[in-house]
Symmetry: C2
Subunit: 156 residues, 2 copies
DNA sequence: CTTAAAATCACCCTAAAGTATGAGGCTTTT
DNA sequence: AAAAGCCTCATACTTTAGGGTGATTTTAAG
């Protein structure tokens, strides 16, 4: 049924309309008493008029249905903010743990010597790691490895 | 008004209801003729009943009004998908157009020689550009320049 | 226990990257 | 017109990166 009558204005309008119609009918009754036994017609007119009134009121009071529409809002983040390692790609390239570690350090701009120092191994070790890394990733330079690594979500 | 009558079923129901009500009123009329001058009451009953009928019919036939409520859903994209150059940072670092160009090519893994070939200048020119670039960005290596450049949205 | 992969390191060599300095030509600004 | 900044190029030099080969030790898997 009709719930939540939003404003009293429409209720008032309805009441006034009803009164006016009743008065109109009353006036018609007094004026055309001649038409005896026109009761059915009279009732029919009332029925039609008030049906229309009911329809109008209902349409006025009918509260619109709320349909929630989800709109995708694009939010731009740096890739690092929510990085998840792509383990499928990692497995596909068969990168070892150490090689990935070296790649990560390369990506943040460290030199081979700095990587060696940080991992407590020799410079030569890092060179062999990087060589294997480039071979497995099929790249020629560390910058390409970094670019590809980011593209494949191997590094942030 | 009422548009788009969706099925004839409801129209039929309305018609039958109207007929039933009229018959009911007719029956009441025959049964309680004793109540003379109850015409106004009679009319009022008709009015109320048909108003209610009108309301019911209107609600049935009225296509539910749709009010779309927009809910924003956050979608996370990689920064590269829609890169916008950070011109404030670019101005702050005072990078020249050529230097930025070199940085961009570095970032995609090109060697100095490849950059030189692509820009139709000599290798020495690229070296000069890169040196100035590193100086302005306060970095030591191209990998650091790339990392910083991405962080500052100078490159995708 | 044996085998394979991974990690480590060394040596040598070449290629690439990066630094320093100087300089000429061009455009814009003062 | 002069100054400043940019682009260009060169030469010389140092440092770093990368390739190739070989070898030892650890570790993981069968």
């Amino acid at each position: 049924m009709i719930k939540n009558i939003r404003n009293y204005k429409q209720t008032l309008v309805y009441g006034i309309s009803l009164a006016v119609l009743l008065l109109l009918l009353r006036w018609l009754e007094l004026r055309y008493v001649i038409l005896a036994h026109s009761f059915e017609i009279y009732a029919g007119v009332i029925a039609v008029l008030f049906t229309a009134l009911g329809v109008w009121v209902a349409l006025k009071l009918n509260k619109p249905q709320v349909l929630t529409k989800v709109i995708e809002k694009e939010i731009y983040l740096t890739a690092a903010a929510n990085f998840v390692l792509n383990e499928q790609q990692l497995a596909k390239l068969k990168l070892s743990a150490r090689e990935l570690e070296v790649l990560q350090l390369m990506a943040v701009g460290k030199s081979n010597q700095e990587i060696a120092d940080q991992l407590f191994v020799s410079l030569n070790t890092i060179k062999t790691h990087s060589s294997r890394l480039f071979e497995k990733m099929d790249v020629k330079r560390r910058t390409q490895a970094i670019e590809l690594g980011k593209k494949l979500s191997l590094i942030p």
